[in-house]
Symmetry: D4
Subunit: 152 residues, 8 copies
């Protein structure tokens, strides 16, 4: 396979996506990454900004979440591998939703989180083919999966 | 259709499932409900209890979560409607995972939660055909969907 | 096959559904019919009545249409045959939407309309296995399809 | 994803498709657009012109609609996003049919219409991830979905 | 499995279907058989008789074939096993079409024909799980498949 | 869509495939054609020649038909449009099988045959989006479907 | 769900199926079990016995394996849960084939084997939701999955 | 079709993959091959090496098998043809699992093994479109399937 598509879902407040991209670029791995829009306010406001404001918070959020879904569902469906990272803040139900969505589509799931979250994430981890703790482990997974190489 | 299958996913510490069941029974609605195992400790321990203990917390949880998945995935796949309730405690990532899983399978989703959770649940709500705040609204939805009746 | 499921979509202001049901009952055909909620005002108001009122017309309608979709999509997916009738009033885009939805699912489509509508319905008719003009033709179709009998 | 496929269905008597194309080209968005044949008379006559004339109007239309379906169904199935525009003239049942067809295939739907059509289009809008009123909103949606940018 | 669904496609001028039914009834096998309409003239004329006559032979046949397809495609999709018999007369392209249709749906195919037809049926036989020469072999196959018994 | 995939199934004793290819090349249509192996003896003998001879005719044919199926099923599944031509010789059950297979996969079917075959091909034609009599009509169909142009 | 379908694949030389059936019957669990034909010689000979003898071992086996596939593939596709047991004798490639087949269909897999086989079965176990060592553990799994009860 | 994707599963201790690649390269066949990681120790250790060591053999193997599954399931799903070779050593249940997995996905299966293994592989062979004994036969199959050429 000439190229692998990897969708990076979940936490948007640390630079884990950049770490994975830098790691795979340093190795010249043939991977195309995709992700949700990670600009928090753009992601929250896109519906109302593009399609018109809403007074009620519910519809304000609903419009935005649906516009984001055009992007996220399309990209998840095109991905070979879906990596979902859970951080230590916020509810992150959208991350778990993405994991369930990807699992039902039969995508290969890699879940990335601190061991402190093992218990509440047990159902999500149970659907995964790998559970990693660090971005560099995800890079090592992609290296092995694509090239069959184990890091020194 | 002679009978509707409804899966009740999510929060397990209040009696919302019983409220819905009582409400639909009072109306004689032709509904068969299913749900995850709602005994918290049985659900946590089933893997180790049946298949052998594990020292590591990760595998203890992993075994249990997979045994529960035999039940939950089968029942979600058989359901016509999946109701997912989010409460005010715990991470509830399994509930969001179920919602994503059901959405990808094309199930009709009803999400049940307090308005205080609207913002963090916006991606989940965006995949739903109805967002309710109370169990009795779910009963009213089932009554209308099945019989076409609106409560007085 | 012991029983056939037939979904009757579309026009709700004449008694075509009753005619078909009476015709098949007179013949003792093993058919279970299903349909959208045909009470026009209940169908319009169900979302707001059950889940809370909306000031904006768009959301009022949106809530109702989604609640109806729980019923209609489930029943279309369970149907063996989908009959869609177009009348001479209203836009009836929901009827054409149902026809497209059923066609993509591979359901056997029967379209029922007056010959005056042939040209604007040509894309819908092109997806059908039968185009009928009267309810009694639909009864004759069901009789033939199920029992192999042609009416005298 | 290197390129997005967008199918532009529906109304053929205004230049809304050109507006969207010009808008996305000005932004250099990586989008490939497709559409039905928008030459009204060619679209009506293609069946009879290529495969032989028909005396009966029904078969004349039927032949043409099926030839057009070779194009439209293939292109809808290949699309990531399906935009359906409803204008103020004609029955436009083919547009609603396309929307239903795309919805059943799980495509991301954007519906484009004047607010005056909100009520009759409520079932179609309910299946959409975005409901826009202008072509420039569709351009803004594509810009955001593909690049994560909100127009100034 | 409490009951097996078997569709009997193809040749309609001998009593092979009755032989199979009698054979399985004598054994009390839990099988429900289905089949196309086997009354040749009803099958040819159903479209025009129910939906209106056609002067052109092509449309006369086309209408009838589509009405029959409502029955045949539904029953093939519901079948566990599809038996297709080829006789020594007529073109029987509908039988080969049914075999291809059933094969693409992943149905278990049993092909029934005289050895004289082995060469022209080689592509059809290649998609089958069993190729039989007599109705009683089909009965023996069903007996074995359902009960695990080999005839004395 | 930058390129259309068209599979040319059926009759192998006239030059209809070349006619279609020449016609589309003259128009510079973006089409990639595929087809079964059209060398009759290679097609008959491939199984035994590659995998070892067989004394029994049945297995000789069975081996060959399966080797050919590796090619034909893969190419049909990748095609956007499947054209099936029926000639005036041979049983051609493989052509009808391909048509049924393609129909069940939801491919756009074009059937090409002389009007003399209308009656025995009625079930096959009923699954088609176009029924043509000449190769040049197929070229015209592809021209219209791909470019929206009707020949002068 | 009123009844669970469980397919018991694999090893046929010990009474593990009977142990599971007795265990679930003692608990009155609503389970319907299915299995391949477990009479070794009938299973080997069915093809030749029913459809005619073969001199070549390859075709003798091929005929029988395909007749068995009519049963096994149908029952696996209907099952909610597939249990596959590996014993200490024979190659048992059919058991591993069934496990792969069931995994690709998304069935819930339970693998049953002695710990001595852990290493060679690691890819099979990796696709399972539970790996058990004894028949009574499978009974306990079914009890928990269906009723939510843990054995004292 | 411009390029064929062929996945080479199974035995990893002889150079059969290289033989096939050399054979097809010598013929300039447009084939892209993929395969599992064939370095035995890397394949065994990848899970623990990347994601952390495990004391229990079961989890050590389980982690590794799942990491390998990210590669193997993705590549099998992308393949047009899956070749599975069985050698004379080891249990090779993973090879049979891959064959079952590929069969359920409808892939064209070629099984490669010594005739001595015919009986225990009969269920696997029964799902194949070709059963070969040598690598050069597989090259000949690919040559014929792709180009229609039979070797001199």
């Amino acid at each position: 396979m000439s190229n692998w598509s990897v969708y990076l879902s979940g936490e948007i407040h640390t630079d884990w996506r950049e770490q994975i991209k830098e790691g795979t670029e340093a190795l010249n791995l043939p991977v195309t990454f995709s992700a949700p829009v990670t600009d928090h306010s753009a992601s929250d406001d896109c519906g109302a900004r593009i399609l018109g404001d809403e007074e009620k918070k519910f519809w304000y959020d609903n419009k935005g979440a649906k516009v984001n879904a055009i992007r996220t569902r399309t990209l998840i469906e095109k991905a070979d591998i879906v990596v979902v990272r859970f951080g230590d803040k916020y509810k992150q139900w959208n991350a778990a939703f993405d994991a369930g969505y990807a699992a039902a589509l039969g995508k290969s799931l890699i879940i990335l989180h601190d061991p402190a979250l093992t218990h509440p994430l047990k159902e999500v981890d149970a659907a995964a083919l790998a559970v990693a703790e660090t971005s560099s482990q995800v890079v090592d997974l992609l290296r092995y999966v694509i090239r069959g190489e184990l890091a020194g």
